[in-house]
């Protein structure tokens, strides 16, 4: 990975452990952390990100709204949904809402990187 062109990723999850883990694993990326949907939207309003990784079920503002806000505010930003509530319906709803990928918790690092790479590739195209 070219570190001079670090991709910016916004991580949105109310679970601290998930935030910590992602920030540890994705330390090579330009990371921004948000612990709920509100905070994420605020970040999106301030700047653009290459990728947003968001949880779905969060207090106050949900992941669906983050997906919607991202596509509204930053149409070029790719959004990847990560959820513990994994069902075909949730996944299809997320994709229909504008997400480019859906990752069910618990996920492996390999899956995570694959989905991130796919998403960033899609963005570059």
């Amino acid at each position: 990975m070219d570190t001079s062109e670090r991709h910016s990723i916004l991580i949105v999850d109310d679970e601290e452990i998930i935030r910590d883990f992602l920030s540890e694993v994705l330390e090579d990326y330009d990371l921004t952390l948000a612990c709920d949907g509100d905070e994420a939207i605020e970040h999106l309003k301030k700047r653009a990100f290459d990728l947003v990784i968001t949880d779905l079920r969060m207090p106050k503002v949900s992941g669906e709204e983050v997906v919607k806000a991202a596509s509204d505010l930053r149409p070029n930003t790719k959004v990847m949904v990560v959820s513990g509530y994994s069902s075909l319906k949730t996944a299809s709803d997320s994709v229909a809402g504008g997400a480019c990928a859906f990752l069910a918790k618990p996920f492996s690092i390999k899956e995570l990187f694959r989905e991130i790479d796919n998403a960033l590739e899609q963005k570059q195209e």
Binding site: E15, F21, E24, R57, G84, S86, I109
Partner: protein, 558 residues
Amino acid sequence: MRPSWLISGTSLRLKFAVPISIMVVISTVIMSGYLIDQQSDSIGRELESRAETLIRMIAINAESGVLFESKYELDELLRVLYQFESVEYCRITNTEGVLLSSYGEMGADATEVHDVRLRGRNQAMLVSDYVLCRIHNHLMYVQISPITTEKKQLSRETLGMAAGVDKSLATPTILETIGFIELGMSTRTVDRDITQAKTAAILLTLMVVVTTIIVVVFTVKAVTKSLTELVKATDHISRGDFDTRVKIDQQDEIGHLARTVNRMAESLLQSREEIEKYNRTLEEKIIERTQQLEDAQAQLIQSEKMSAIGQLAAGVAHELNNPLGGILGYAQFTLEKLRKNVPGATTAKEIDAYIRHVRDIENQARRCKTIVQNLLRFSRSSRGVEFEEVDVNRAIKETATFVEHQLQINRVHLDISLAPDLPHIYGNAGQLQQVFTNLIINAMHASGPDSVITVRSKFSPALGEFGGAIELVFSDNGHGIPKENLNKVFEPFFTTKEVGKGTGLGLSVSYGIIKEHGGEITVESEPEMGTTFTIVLPAQESCVQTDNLENKDRQQTS
């Protein structure tokens, strides 16, 4: 209770013995009186008849003596007469009343009587007469008879007849009284005979009376003995002692009655045994049915719980998947790092990172364990549930973790406000969590997005006989319950949800659980304003004092 002999024995004996004895005595006395009377009459008539015969015999024989006034002849006649029994005196007078002969003492009274009687008679007296008079303090039977002689009556007609004009006509004769014979017979012998007869009759009467009374008393006793036994037996039977049997082996009506009573007791015994048997069967059936009902209820509670768990599955999955995500991620990450590590070249920073990651894994695994434990406690079978001290606040918090995600999906906020000094109660945490889940999920279904469900716990301390209680309030600002449905919400199978969306058992089961905990659950609702369920649970007295400190600690840690 009066003794049985007093009820029937004596009174029955008296009832029988007294009238029978009186009847026998009266009839015997009447009969004896009649017999004595008859006997006296008979003896009197015999005396009269003897006197009549004697006097007639003397009167016939005295005709010549009187006609010729032969004292010797008359004395001889009277001497013979005087020898007869009971003859007190006898005398013969002519028609002028001149005494021609006499024998025996007649006494002054008799003479007077005799004179009085004779003065009343004319000379033509032809038949004998008698008079009963008292002489020397005893009755005397005095018979007077005329002494007659035949006289030929001569007239012209009779003379013609005698000359043979008419041979068919005989010379008529007339009887002429020429004197009187008087016979005084003492009634002393007769009186003695009569007295003897009377004595005999009285003795006989007494004997008959005594015999009758004895016979009657014994007979009545024999009869009433059986009756008393019958009464005793029926008394026992009437008191429910159906094993009693009358031991009378007679071939009469009482024997028949005894056998009937025995048969009755036998059939009563059989009936009672049948009833008891039926009762036992009924009790067994009731126990069996009650068991079936309890089983069915337990199954209902269980199925309702499973339904709630089903509804919570998403929340539980989310709860588990988050820590599992951390665990899996950190494990893979650390493994990868360690694989790439050159032995002996690990920096302290790297080691710190490994320790941190493994600790995170440990913490998240514990979190998973807690979730699974909660789930297990919640899903534990309601059969044979054990009651123990329950921290209601903790049960509410654990319930909240299950439903939180579900609420988030529906964008319903749960506002929990718990009293810090809440005492423990005696109950089953799993069951209570089932109730709380049910109330919260129901509230969620009734509420729209961005609504709030509030859960409050409060402690009402003991006051007098009231031993202190915990009050839990579950409120929502949802669409409420129509008034007509308000009193039906706790009924089984009552639901306003679409078919397949609700079992209609949630509130009914909740109601049963709260009742089992000795508590109350009530509902208030205003359509389009919201619904409030209030649960009151009795506080454990022993828990009221001891758990305050624990609660404070827990509150701080939480």
